[in-house]
Symmetry: C2
Subunit: 447 residues, 2 copies
């Protein structure tokens, strides 16, 4: 099977997303699909070697003769016991435990490089009790969604960004590198295999959650760089979690619990960023909040909310409407694909005003809870929302900060006007009511 056999022929995304700025304009956006795909593959591979992502030099291992991850070598074993698809809104869906009929696995060893990947029936992994990942958190993952469009197509959303970020994450946790294009081929193949059944055409607006994961699988207790690893990709049924009644309620973190720090790994999608957040998250839920609003430093800089990026829309004292989120420079927050997309769409579509809206200034800068509090008190806080894959765009209704309850406007309804606009634009691209280069169509396989 050649890579092109598992590559969807329709390529609406630009080739530029993963490339250095100097490269992106050299590629014709009118090139034929295949040429574009080849160019993209090359760039993705190059990107893996040289591109800086989130300021991180992606230091891939020196070229060796060991095999690279190669989607064209995929072997296929279909599931002889497929399971029924949970109904939308069912407890099964809400459990986040149900996966589709198949998964993809690929093994890596330091002596042999990447082995041929395999599409297999979904099922348990067998790991020795000494397995590195169970002791040393040698693990990273990505979160993406597969959307069943209102036009009948299956789409991914800017998947190249996730594949590049996965590579970046592996490099922070000493896991093996790979060509991001090959990961994308594998993801696409799994989606193409299970999409037809698990996202029926009569349920437009539905989605599956895609979880590419890499773990160190060495059966050895020594604290050392992994010599074996396993990449696996699964598709899970997830509920929609983007519109909690009354808006999301956030509890600001306390001094004794911080999510990330400079010189740490808050910018990478490592398991090590999530488990240690669960005590604070549990306390928040026990007190009636949905998520922790993670602050940093004595000045209470606002960083992330739960496992999402955090945005405010406020009016400055000078009268300017601003969309503000924390910057990536300190490397303590995740370079979210949804975050980046919100910023790009807002700059493009809100930056000049019009259609009855004021001009919105889009700002990435450090800001503090004191600023947020002042904006609330002075009536200048217009809206706030979180942005991420799992929780998508979730309007915020309330923030508790050091004994104070801050009410956040939601436009008198389910979301403020800017939140609703951005969310609507993204939905349109994801579910195909707006044809956009960020929507990456997956050609389904009929079996």
């Amino acid at each position: 099977m050649s890579p092109s056999a598992i590559t969807p022929p329709t390529e609406r995304e630009t080739v530029s997303e993963l490339t250095a700025q100097g490269i992106e304009h050299s590629l014709s956006k009118t090139a034929p699909s295949l040429l574009k795909q080849q160019a993209k593959d090359a760039l993705l591979t190059d990107a893996a070697v040289e591109t800086k992502s989130n300021g991180t030099k992606l230091a891939r291992a020196p070229a060796t003769l060991l095999p690279e991850l190669d989607a064209s070598l995929l072997t296929t074993t279909y599931n002889p016991n497929p399971r029924p698809v949970p109904l939308p809104g069912s407890p099964e869906e809400a459990s986040q435990q149900v996966c589709t009929d198949h998964m993809i696995q690929a093994k890596w060893t330091v002596s042999q490089g990447w082995h041929a990947p395999a599409l297999l029936p979904y099922g348990p992994l067998s790991l020795m009790p000494t397995c590195s990942v169970l002791h040393y958190a040698t693990e990273c993952f990505e979160g993406m969604k597969l959307y069943r469009g209102h036009d009948g197509h299956l789409r991914l959303f800017r998947p190249h960004l996730n594949c590049a970020r996965m590579l970046m994450s592996t490099q922070r946790i000493a896991l093996p590198s790979f060509p991001p294009s090959q990961l994308l081929h594998l993801i696409t193949k799994l989606c193409a295999t299970d999409g037809e059944k698990w996202l029926p055409r009569d349920r437009p607006g539905a989605f599956l959650y895609i979880r590419p994961t890499m773990i160190a699988s060495d059966p050895a207790l020594g604290v050392q760089q992994p010599k074996e690893a396993l990449l696996f990709i699964i598709l899970a049924c997830f509920p929609s979690m983007d519109a909690p009644a009354g808006g999301m309620r956030l509890l600001a973190s306390k001094d004794d619990m911080i999510r990330a720090w400079p010189g740490g790994f808050g910018y990478a999608k490592l398991g090590a960023n999530y488990g240690p957040s669960l005590v604070a998250q549990g306390e928040a839920r026990a007190r009636g909040y949905h998520q922790i609003l993670w602050l940093f430093g004595d000045e209470c800089r606002v960083t992330e909310a739960g496992a999402s990026n955090f945005f405010v829309v406020w009016r400055t004292r000078e009268g300017q409407v601003q969309l503000v989120t924390a910057p990536l420079g300190a490397k303590i927050i995740l370079d979210g694909v949804t975050r980046r997309s919100v910023l790009e769409l807002a700059r493009e579509r809100l930056g000049k005003g019009g259609q009855g809206l004021e001009k919105v200034e889009v700002v990435e800068r450090n800001f503090t809870m004191v600023e947020v509090e002042e904006a609330v008190v002075e009536g200048r806080l217009l809206e706030a929302f979180t942005a991420g894959t799992a929780f998508f765009i979730s309007p915020i209704g309330h923030i508790h900060f050091r004994g104070k309850d801050l009410e956040v406007p939601m436009g008198g309804g389910e979301a403020g006007v800017y939140t609703a606009l951005v969310k609507g634009w993204l939905k349109g691209i994801m579910w195909g009511t707006e044809q956009h280069e960020w929507g990456y169509v997956v050609e389904e396989e009929k079996r």
Copy 2:
């Protein structure tokens, strides 16, 4: 099987280690073994509820009717296919991959509490690809050793401290609590079962590495507090790693790679502290160093070395000999059992001088690489060593700090005088050439 049936009758350790200071003196040290054990059990359980360990309030869940971890419910299935014991110094031993014939497992669920633990043949775990620990690093562990003494006995070293720290770690990573005394019973049982064969009496001075581990086993992708967990205990064959030729060579960490941070989790034995250190460790090894010397802050405070605590012995400018290590207050370093034991022995046995040695002042305080460098330059640095379970007491011969190579004296031989003294005392207690309350004798089971 009652708990006492798997408790060794010989109790040399004081009951005071895990207790609040106010409690420890109320217990007679001349009480009979059984009474002492009962008292210790009660204290261990109380400790789980109330004791502060490393400054952390151990917040156990409110009492419920759900079953606690109970070693007396242990079921036993012996391994029908036992494997041969690797020879000392063999590649098998060095691989850190060989475990003994058995393991202990205990499952916990939020709805049913702790299930009956089981002693089983050592073998793989079956985990769903959605398993929490593979994505969110919901895991913690302990490191201990089982020693075959020169007097023929098997011993643990201050195991209550490890069991209490394991509880503390679980609470930082949202895993379930348990009575530390029950964990100790289970560890003891596994050691009693496999000790006879895997630490033959004709190999005094040998040891096995004990790894109690807890992982969240929920098969669900939601980022949430675990609803299922698995405790397992394994015994691995480990090489001795405490005397690298020429001493340990350390590479001081750089600004862009920080192990831990106040408000983080550097004080807990979480997987999340280890995986993210491997990139720096790999760079160190590639450059010819054994471990990273972890610094913190603009002032380059010295915290840990590799996964061990770090000690220096220097002469102050006023002429005083001091043994110095970083304090626990900021909660960025591990409260090591070996660290604590070094401090206690040094205070007791070096604090007054004698036997041809100067009086040594034992100091826990923040100190910086600048101070270490000045001591080297001025000829005041006498020795340095790391202290931990895996690497035991390892003399340091060299530190590379921001372009400078600092040579650390090793007394002209394998270790400086203070390093050798402390190491010798600990060895004596661990291998039974000194009868000491810290040595915890395990009664072997003959099968």
